[in-house]
Amino acid sequence: MVKQLVALLRKDVLLEFRQRYALFSILLYVVATVYISYLIFSNIKDVRTWNALFWIILIFASINSAGKSFSNESENRFWYYYQLASPQAVILSKIVYNTLLIWIISLITYIIYSWFLGNHVTNHLHFLAVVLLGSASFSGILTVVSAIAVKTNNNATLMSILSIPLLLPAVIIIVKASQLSLMGMSMAQNGAYLAGLLVLNLLVTAMGYLLFPYLWRE
């Protein structure tokens, strides 16, 4: 199964590398959103607001990027994969791919956001750890929800309706963890929240692994 996983992952990464459609469109979305925020806020002095806006932008960027993970595949291609690969390999490769994509997006978002709206981060490693763990949890949850939503007809709205309530637990942990990191706490003190995020990621991936086979069959 690992070979299938790697193969599927390579396929997705290569596709993306050649066209770069998803990455650039999301980046454009992020730049536009950050710029609008800049026009509205100019410079955000309050740390909590800075943090909140950063995560809001990242949440919607993630929904847009991971939400498309399954809708790009056509019906026929899906049948093709069905013959060749195990469902577990498919879902895991999608989750890994989305996580990598979201990591790239979130790092670039962080850079662009700091560029325009100031940077309040003191302990970069700590904050980035929160960002990476947090966006990974978004990717996991959104990949599984996208697999569910792609089975229905009205994808876009349903995707948002299904995903936003499910993202909220992750969001609450992330906001607490990132606030603590911005206040200057060490990673050890933030341990509970960081561990919580890690557990959430593992849990979501495990659920995707177990449940995807049921979504898969037609």
Binding site: V144, N154, L158, I161, L162, L166, P169, M207, L211, L215
Partner: protein, 229 residues
Amino acid sequence: MKKNWWKVLAIVLILYSLIAGFLGDVPRRDILNESIRNLYFHVAMWFAMIAMMGASLGYSIKYLSGNHLNIDARANLFAEMGLVFSILGITTGSIWAKFTWGAFWTNDAKLNGTAITILIYLAYFILRGSLDDREKRARISAVYNVFAFVLMIVFIGILPRLTDSLHPGNGGNPAFSQYDLDTNMRWVFYPAVVGWILFGIWVSGIRYRLYSIKESLDQWRNDSSDQLH
């Protein structure tokens, strides 16, 4: 009577909680005063909701391993019953909050959890509504049910432990502490919970029978119209 003893039990337990709820002794607590009796009613709604959602989850899992549409109908009905309990819980909680905490809604971990639970299950019903093929609807919504339930448990169970809360006895631990569940109250509270759970099962059972009658009629209508043609 042999089949219906549990319905009688439901009535007896709820009636008992209603009477003892008002006449019984309760601990005297500041801020809460007499409204601490709300424990028997408001909190019982939440426990009943969890039981209903748990039943719905059970039937969803059973469907995934069996694929009988009746099982899916039960999962749906229990989720609906759970939603009813949750709406009752959230409105009664809101009113209680207005009188004790001063506002209808606050930024409290438990309240967030309940709001999100309601959103999650509303999304479940919207998902069901958007799928027409019955088998597909049952399967996809069962997957969502399992996924969402696990996340919900994480949220309701784990998060309140990580943060402070206005809820009595919480500020680290969402389970009841000595602070607000007096031994006397236990004697009325647990029977109330069991009573309301049985009540939920009763109502869902009636609705299930109505569903199955409708199914039979539809099938009969289809069969007879096939015969005519």
